[in-house]
């Protein structure tokens, strides 16, 4: 089920085969931990992004589980080896199992 979520994915457009590249993924999300009270004293319900999955041409290469301690508008930055040209995809999944994804092409020579 899809989630309307603003996402940013920053990867190099091209790389040499075998080069270790940096992947930077940002999501626009309040990451409510369910412990905050609003102006009227009501508890703001929990609404969290729980998982980020990184796919290189469809193969999962990196994954992160996010808990209540991750800041709002979460950033996740990691490395991957540029093995071949293709599509890099980041999928964010929330508490309810809904997901949102964004992709970027990379040319590897």
């Amino acid at each position: 089920m899809s989630l309307p979520l603003r996402l940013l994915l920053t990867v190099p457009r091209s790389a040499r085969r075998g080069e270790i590249i940096e992947v930077r993924a940002l999501a626009q999300h309040a990451m409510e931990n369910g412990l905050r009270h609003d102006q009227n004293g009501q508890v703001v319900p929990r609404d969290l992004l729980r998982q980020v999955t990184f796919l290189y041409n469809g193969t999962e290469v990196f994954r992160a589980d996010l808990h209540t301690g991750v800041a709002a508008n979460p950033l996740i930055q990691f490395n991957t080896i540029a093995t071949e040209s293709g599509v890099l995809t980041v999928i964010w999944k929330d508490d309810e199992g809904r997901d949102a994804q964004t992709s970027s092409r990379i040319e590897v020579s």
């Binding site: 270790i20 990196f62 508008n73 490395n79």
Partner: protein, 150 residues
């Protein structure tokens, strides 16, 4: 004015000047250690190989950049399976877990986390050979001045 409200006001006021003793509302070192135990079970956790970069004096506890690196060749035979970040002073101990593969190249991950108060954070790495390695870092978190808190 109710007693608890005025006390909170005063504490909040003192805290704005970095003076408040924390009331200990959140569990302390035990909760992080319990979470680490749940992860490693009976295995021994050795100190080392894990690098944890976090500012010693935090600008704002709502968003703290943290970088984790684990010293490893990241080959099929010898790589980092996962690294787990735990908090001693947040309401819940789990912050994030990163799962690597040999295709990661480097076992590094950077994110922005929340710290509810000054505390020690722990990073535990699980290796492909079944071993566990850990490190920790102490942080100082002060309350912001001039917020929307009345």
């Amino acid at each position: 004015m109710k007693v608890s409200e005025s006390r909170r006001d005063c504490l909040g006021f003192l805290a704005a000047f970095g003076l408040a003793p924390w009331s200990g509302a959140f569990a302390q070192a035990d909760q992080a250690q319990a979470a680490i135990r749940a992860l490693v079970m009976d295995a021994r956790v050795r100190a080392g190989r894990v690098g944890l970069e976090i500012p010693p004096l935090v600008e704002n506890g709502h968003s703290v950049v943290v970088s984790l690196q684990v010293d490893s060749p990241m080959t099929e035979q010898d790589h980092v399976r996962s690294v787990h970040l735990f908090s001693e002073g947040n309401p819940l101990p789990g912050i994030l877990t990163a799962y690597f593969t040999p295709r990661s190249g480097r076992a590094t991950v950077t994110s922005r986390i929340r710290l509810a108060q000054s505390q020690r954070v722990w990073a535990v790495a699980a290796m492909s050979d079944g071993s566990f390695w850990q490190t920790s870092a102490e942080t100082l978190v002060t309350l912001s001045a001039c917020t929307e808190e009345r």
